[in-house]
């Protein structure tokens, strides 16, 4: 399964757009890119998933370039409650199914 590299931490202010980029140079053809969010003392929560180009939902957007070797999670107009750790994962699962979580990006949103 492909490994990912993302910044350890990021700081932002309320109302700003936050972009977190993840590198996954050895992504496989059938791998999907998925982002999870984790608050302290809680399990991770699915945010968004994509395969190529752009995906948008009510929470975030995911931008994936044509070579798929990286992806960017975009959080519009963050608030204090968006302070959390964000994990980028790649994989398909198939018969194995497990996700490989790195240390994620700790996003701190300040007032």
């Amino acid at each position: 399964l492909a490994k990912t590299t993302q910044p350890i931490s990021m700081d932002s202010y309320e109302g700003q757009e936050v972009n977190i980029t993840c590198s996954h140079n050895n992504i496989a053809t059938n791998d999907y890119i998925t982002w999870y969010q984790q608050f302290p003392s809680q399990g991770p929560r699915f945010i968004i998933q994509g395969y190529k180009t752009k995906v948008t939902n009510e929470v975030a957007s995911l931008f994936i370039p044509a070579d798929r070797k990286s992806s960017t999670l975009s959080l519009p107009r963050v608030s204090l409650s968006d302070t959390a750790v964000y994990y980028c994962l790649v994989g398909f699962g198939g018969s194995q199914g497990n996700l490989i979580f790195g240390k994620g990006t700790k996003l701190s949103v300040k007032p």
Binding site: Q49, S95, Q96
Partner: protein
Amino acid sequence: GAGVSQSPSNKVTEKGKDVELRCDPISGHTALYWYRQSLGQGLEFLIYFQGNSAPDKSGLPSDRFSAERTGGSVSTLTIQRTQQEDSAVYLCASSLSPGGPGYEQYFGPGTRLTVT
């Protein structure tokens, strides 16, 4: 509907004792996963169940760790002769099926294990 539940939420045990951690997945989810998260670290995959079988046990750190799943539902993670390095939050997740679009795992709140 009900999410993934885990019990106990907290467990303090003495070194050398055995512990059992329980996971109740979302009804109808065929896939179940166990992860471990040490303080300030990312999640470490332990084991994955598809139905009652475990095609991937590669993440279990030692033979002191075992897990089973019965009736395609509840799963129990057992740690024998606990060591201090076993202290962590143990997270369970379930999904409808592995792979492909919609491959979303739903996580429980975790069990915080402290070995003294």
